[in-house]
Symmetry: C2
Subunit: 335 residues, 2 copies
Amino acid sequence: MVTLAQVAQHAGVSPSTVSYVISGKRSISQDTRLRVERSIAELGYHPHAGARALASNRSHVIALVVPLRTDMFVPVVMEIAIAVTTTARRYAHDVLLLTSEEGPSAIKRITNSGLADAMILMDVELEDERIPLLRQTGTAAALIGLPADPAGLTCVDLDFEATGRLAADHLADLGHREVALIGPAESVYRRHTGFAERTLTGFRQQAGVRGLRFLHRPCGDGHEAASGTLSRIFEERPGITGLVVQNESALPHLLGQLRQSGRAVPEDVSVVAICPDDVALHSAPRLTSVSVPAKEMGRRAVELVMALAAGRPAEELTLLTPALTIRESSGPGPR
Amino acid sequence: MVTLAQVAQHAGVSPSTVSYVISGKRSISQDTRLRVERSIAELGYHPHAGARALASNRSHVIALVVPLRTDMFVPVVMEIAIAVTTTARRYAHDVLLLTSEEGPSAIKRITNSGLADAMILMDVELEDERIPLLRQTGTAAALIGLPADPAGLTCVDLDFEATGRLAADHLADLGHREVALIGPAESVYRRHTGFAERTLTGFRQQAGVRGLRFLHRPCGDGHEAASGTLSRIFEERPGITGLVVQNESALPHLLGQLRQSGRAVPEDVSVVAICPDDVALHSAPRLTSVSVPAKEMGRRAVELVMALAAGRPAEELTLLTPALTIRESSGPGPR
DNA sequence: GTGAAAGCGCTAACAT
DNA sequence: ATGTTAGCGCTTTCAC
């Protein structure tokens, strides 16, 4: 193992100089900086993470807590995790992967052991038991998702209320009068994860403003659930011509079922999805959608948490503005 | 921050005693052990990870490298990652998440910085540029997937050749004579990730043995690709009555397309999927499938790598035996 | 069965 | 602009 002392010797300088060259915490003459950098490269030196953490009280690690039993669409979770990791690297940080399984005790363990300087939590619940802990320990943390009381916390999420409104507006603009919102499984609503309710709120509100008659139905995973939900919707309201779908895994089944039941998209029914762009693009027809900006959420969470860890202030609430992309699945309403 | 010294004082023993109580590396009297443990709990002590790593040369961290541009089905990657994390915890280890983006340099960085004691690599390519590095540094590592030359490496994977054979056998047993294998996108074959080729090899071999006439077609993501592939298959070989599908994301589209084209499953065509069980269960009809044992792979990788890190020997090649579960999508062949 | 003490490799005062 | 040095909190001989 190459140590800093060895680099120092090789470059003919003192250990502290090497340390300062690396951290940039004090000015170094061109000359020595170059010599030191050459030595580092030549010896293939990498600072010992533990030693560094011990001496500086900063581990250069961000802990990321991913959901175990996930309400989110798994690819979205993965995309956020990857965005967090690549963004963290730009801040010279690494990412420690934790699952929600360990619960609040993981938070204690990580903060007390100095393993991570900051944490990012996904799948926050409205009344999340880890939040009090975060508050009291003053851990540098960012939440992806919104708890019931976000005061004093740093949160990042898509603005789902605006998303609901945007979808309602788009359908209303196209002249639809009767629409339905197909959400995630009922269990998600019961668990109060937040995002489903918020979309519903925004959608309901704007439906009211625009005079849309609407129905809201949760929908489980799998083909059966999707086709069941769909047929019940049309039984109840045969006049429905617009569908907003916030359920990525049901999407292919829903579209298949529409096709099969002879309802053409968008001629007979318009579909607006709330999903990642690639899902929208891989469907047939390509879906008009409000995209779930997974990358952006991961990136922002890291930026915020890095600010906090550095003692800088950070925005409490970052609500990303939804963007609707019109593709082939939405068209003019009846008459 | 609570330190070991504080615990020692609180318990009225020396620091080393506390250390030994924790590590169990020497025998301690019931009495003092209890006192120390009570102090630890009472003070909420957690050892400082960096200090521990510095003093002991072991970080208690496993690095997990996940694919960025993923050939694997994303939920499978995620499931493996989660299995790795939860299994690691059972060995009192944490998991550092790396992406393949950083390439071989990540391996150097991690091993040299002492950040991790061991690594697990996913999505290994046949000629993976990280493998020479692993070999020469002697890093404790496990690969999920199989490189071209696995000699001297520790690898875990599903036995895809056996999987191909198993699928062929099942269809042959049912009396099918003309079958097709629908694989992942062509790009996956070009990238030589291995698993697709291996399934094909096994399938081809057993098709030969059982006298099955067969066709092999890659299939891209999305609805268009799926329905295109399917119709070309049936144009070319109208007599096909059995389909083996190794492409999770095409599955719903494929099934939708079959339904729509009036081919009943399993009456007109039998479908055998190679996919995680939950995908098989959420399809309609529920799919006869060879399951991709994601959890098992993650678990085994950790076990192997922990053995290596402890200086114990580990199996070089762990090929998990595939298991076929008969569900509703496969039935008797023609006549 | 327990204690004392020498580091592990690095950072950050404190010097100059 | 650079060097000296005292720890950071833990593990692990060595000693009893």
